[in-house]
């Protein structure tokens, strides 16, 4: 395919020190680089867009529920949907996704049910128990640690002679961890079929990207490991899809790991416990709003006659209602069973854990009496 050859060249020839950012769809929804357009059908793009809308709607609903005191802490994704859905769509069925903790769009696209996601943020371990066959690892709260798992998963695929690729996420803050260096270097040394995506949303809680590192780009951090790195407009679904698709095929064909910096912006708070007005100007947020990944995809789809404002509103409403319905189920079923707290520490409950469990059950019974 001509397009893929072109992007193949793009990554290979990309100068990590140039700071150049790959963009296909501009902020007004106009395709600037038609030769780079990935070869998906209109229907397929619409599908991806719908997942972005679902992500946005589910996010908004979660925030609303959190304010009502029904949801616990929640980490919103607003503004980062393209950087999540694009890569997820570029993956093959058996490829592995290794999340950080802010990739709702990717999880949903890869088959993690919204209910499971909500269950996680609701505070129940079953929120990390995914349906059979969904090759997505649980959220990794300790920043950076998940990259090693991604490299290990990818190495295992290679050792077993399977050609699955692993896509791993991390944030801009995460690139300062030691694990980031270790994992990229391991991936390079073992030529692991893995794609690292940094969602550079410009903040690590309150710390701006400029105070996280003085490297001009995050992509250039790939140079340390001797692997290719590339800056991509993280708010551009087409660019994210194209770049990650290429990196995945590169990895799958034995070309080794790639680092993709998805240049984006966290429009919302770090989590529901955070108040961003403490550390950033509203004007900055306002300046980023026109670059919203949903807005520009909507403009594109409307311009192609595939979509309308009315449909858009209706879809958002529909997804909002769906999300609420899903959350109601979570509320109904979300309390953990006491047994489950003890049962999964080991495959078999050892004597001392069983004893603690039974003593506690006795205590609970006594309390009821």
């Amino acid at each position: 395919m001509l397009i893929q050859e072109y992007t193949a060249q793009l990554i290979r020839d990309y100068d990590a020190l140039s700071g150049r950012m790959l963009q296909i769809l501009d902020e007004n929804g106009v395709v600037k680089e038609p030769e780079l357009m990935p070869a998906l059908s209109d229907a397929e793009w619409l599908e991806l867009y719908k997942t972005m809308v679902l992500t946005r709607a589910a996010d908004d609903k979660a925030l609303q529920l959190q304010r009502q005191g029904r949801m616990l802490t929640y980490a919103p994704n607003t503004g980062q949907e393209a950087a999540q859905v694009g890569p997820a769509a570029a993956m093959a069925k058996n490829d592995w996704l290794v999340p950080a903790f802010r990739e709702l769009g990717a999880w949903l696209y890869r088959g993690v049910p919204l209910k499971t996601v909500y269950l996680y943020w609701y505070g129940n371990e079953y929120g990390s128990h995914f349906p059979e066959g969904v090759r997505v690892l649980p959220i990794a709260v300790p920043i950076g640690t998940q990259l090693h798992h991604a490299v290990g998963v990818a190495m295992a695929s290679k050792i077993k002679g399977e050609n699955d690729v692993t896509v791993a996420y991390i944030g801009d803050g995460g690139t300062s961890t030691g694990d980031f260096n270790e994992a990229l270097n391991f991936a390079g040394v073992f030529n692991a079929p893995v794609v690292f995506i940094v969602q550079n949303n410009q903040y690590a809680i309150s710390v701006p990207r400029t105070k996280q590192t003085i490297a001009k780009t995050i992509a250039q951090k790939a140079v340390a490991a001797g692997i290719p790195g590339m800056v991509v407009d993280g708010n551009d679904l087409f660019a994210m899809y194209a770049a990650v698709k290429e990196a995945i095929e590169r990895a799958r064909s034995g070309g080794g790991p790639t680092l993709i910096e998805a240049y984006t912006y966290r429009l919302g708070a770090h989590t529901t416990s955070d108040d961003p007005t403490k550390y950033r100007e509203d004007s900055e947020v306002e300046a980023w709003k026109p670059r919203d990944p949903l807005g520009r995809m909507k403009a594109y789809l409307i311009s192609k006659g595939l979509w309308s404002e009315e449909q858009d509103l209706a879809l958002y409403e529909e997804y909002g209602a769906y999300a609420l319905e899903v959350f109601r189920q979570v509320e109904a079923e979300g309390e953990p069973r006491v047994e489950d707290l003890f049962k999964y520490t080991y495959k078999e409950m050892p004597a001392h854990v069983r004893e603690q469990y039974e003593e506690y059950l006795q205590y609970l019974e006594g309390k009821v009496d």
């Binding site: 616990l72 802490t73 996680y120 609701y122 505070g123 129940n124 371990e125 929120g127 709260v141 300790p142 920043i143 950076g144 803050g173 995460g174 300062s176 961890t177 030691g178 694990d179 690590a204 809680i205 309150s206 710390v207 105070k211 996280q212 590192t213 416990s273 955070d274 403490k278 550390y279 979300g334 309390e335 953990p336 006491v338 489950d340 707290l341 003890f342 520490t345 001392h352 854990v353 603690q356 469990y357 506690y360 205590y363 006594g366 309390k367």
Partner: protein
Amino acid sequence: MALMNLITAINHTLDLALAQDERVVVFGEDVGVEGGVFRATVGLQKKYGEERVFDTPLAESAIVGTAVGMALNGLRPVAEIQFSGFVYPAFNQIISHVARMRNRTRGQRYLPMVIRMPHGGGIKALEHHSESLDTFFGHIPGLKVVVPSTPYDAKGLLLSAIRDDDPVIFLEPSKLYRAFRQEVPEEDYTIPIGKAKVVKPGSDLTVVSWGAYLHEALKAAELLQAEGIDAEVIDLRTISPLDRETILESVKKTGRFAVVHEAAKSFGPGAELVALVNEGAFLYLEAPPLRLAGFDITIPLPRGEHHYFMDAQRMAAGLRQVANF
């Protein structure tokens, strides 16, 4: 005097220490501009400048390791780890260097530094935000380990920690950050590290606890009091070095002992206290010493955490057994 909760007391104490000693520097993730995710350092960067109160990149090993370097070069760093569950990347620095520099150099170089972190759970937080590391730190020779249970104590202990010429791990029970307020004097005072405190005298049974659990233990003692059981409750305050005297004296008086803590039971801090009581007051014991401790499981996510964290009632049920043995 002013009414302060634990977090404002810590903020006030850091302010005092920064004002008094220009060698003191305060840093960590989100510590500068934002003033800490728990607001322990709020306002301090404005007041003391970016050179003395600052944000760091996201790297706990570097946070602790640079503190080591600063301490070696004449500063008295106070580093913040955002939650105790994120201190593990810094374990190598803490065990290999923080705890050892003085001995390694036979006293030539030493580390007047403090590592502060929110500790323990019960605040419906995410995974890794509820961890109790008493044993890990207690087991490392060369560290001092402190856990305050009140705003008043927090100030006195933190000032002691900052002035100590040895490294101090300062564990702040996150559940207490905003739990209650207390009169805290504006002026300078310290509370010695290594001294436990008898919070409620009693004659029937000795109960040792610390941090957030101390308050539940006190409530449990009240429940028992109503039944005619007079428990003595000791706030350990310092995990290392342990105040054996206060504990043993109490056990010799009461003949019965229980320790109550959040951390997992096996190889947990309670084991040390039981062993210590065995070593120092075995012949006084009228009942087997009891550990009321966390289950040997991962601390559950918020919906299940009430099963893990003990309330006064469950504590009382355990203590009753010791008293009535």
